[in-house]
Symmetry: C2
Subunit: 121 residues, 2 copies
Amino acid sequence: MSGDDPRAEQATDDALRALAEPRRRAILRLVADAELPAGQIAEAFDVTRTAISQHLSVLKNAGLLHERRDGTRRLYRARAEGLAGLQAFLDQMWATSLQTAARLVEAERGVTDGGHADAAG
Amino acid sequence: MSGDDPRAEQATDDALRALAEPRRRAILRLVADAELPAGQIAEAFDVTRTAISQHLSVLKNAGLLHERRDGTRRLYRARAEGLAGLQAFLDQMWATSLQTAARLVEAERGVTDGGHADAAG
DNA sequence: CAACTCCGACAGTTGACGCTAACGTTCGTC
DNA sequence: GACGAACGTTAGCGTCAACTGTCGGAGTTG
């Protein structure tokens, strides 16, 4: 896959930065179980509704939140699609890191045993 | 359920906050492919070695980096284990969000069609 | 021991982020 | 049309993190 896409990198950055805040993660967990209006979400925390509104904006801008209008209220729920890019990023990093670790361990063991390590640039 | 462990939450928070910075993600990608000394890592960016050193400290403190001494140099490589908690967190969120979305869609369709919703709540 | 290299630690500055308070907008009701 | 409710938006403030420059420690070399 084209892992050099700046679009995907930007999306991953947004999602990661949004998830880096504990409050936002809590909000996301809250709306992952059920659809809730902004007021009810705000009542679950000890901060003002404004702060929650901003957090909701960040999450929505990061593609992690889905908004639905219902009269004066706006219902929010988590958007699983927003986590796909992040999971792909983590998966790729995980695989590469494991491969590198195994390769380095083998190379070091080769050096320690006999010292015929190749491609030790 | 072991999902309420504050230890895991703290580890996830540290890893997430560390990965939220694009520079640190680039560093992690760099050392995911091969083991590199701090100087070589610093030369790959347009910032001072001090900044890179601090980034390395953050990554190491978050459990995402592995340090190995080699004379005056210190080789760094990515640590795949540090990403395990994060992947678990994302996986759980993903599953919950998908289930909730499907449930809500079914409920709404039931209301729209005829209104014989069987109280899936 | 002295000189050089590589690297981390400390203090200071600047930009970004989160929180609060006041206001504007949209929708529902009388 | 007027009033109230729910929510987002803007401006201001405080705080945290990233970046820079300088210094000190650890290790190799002569």
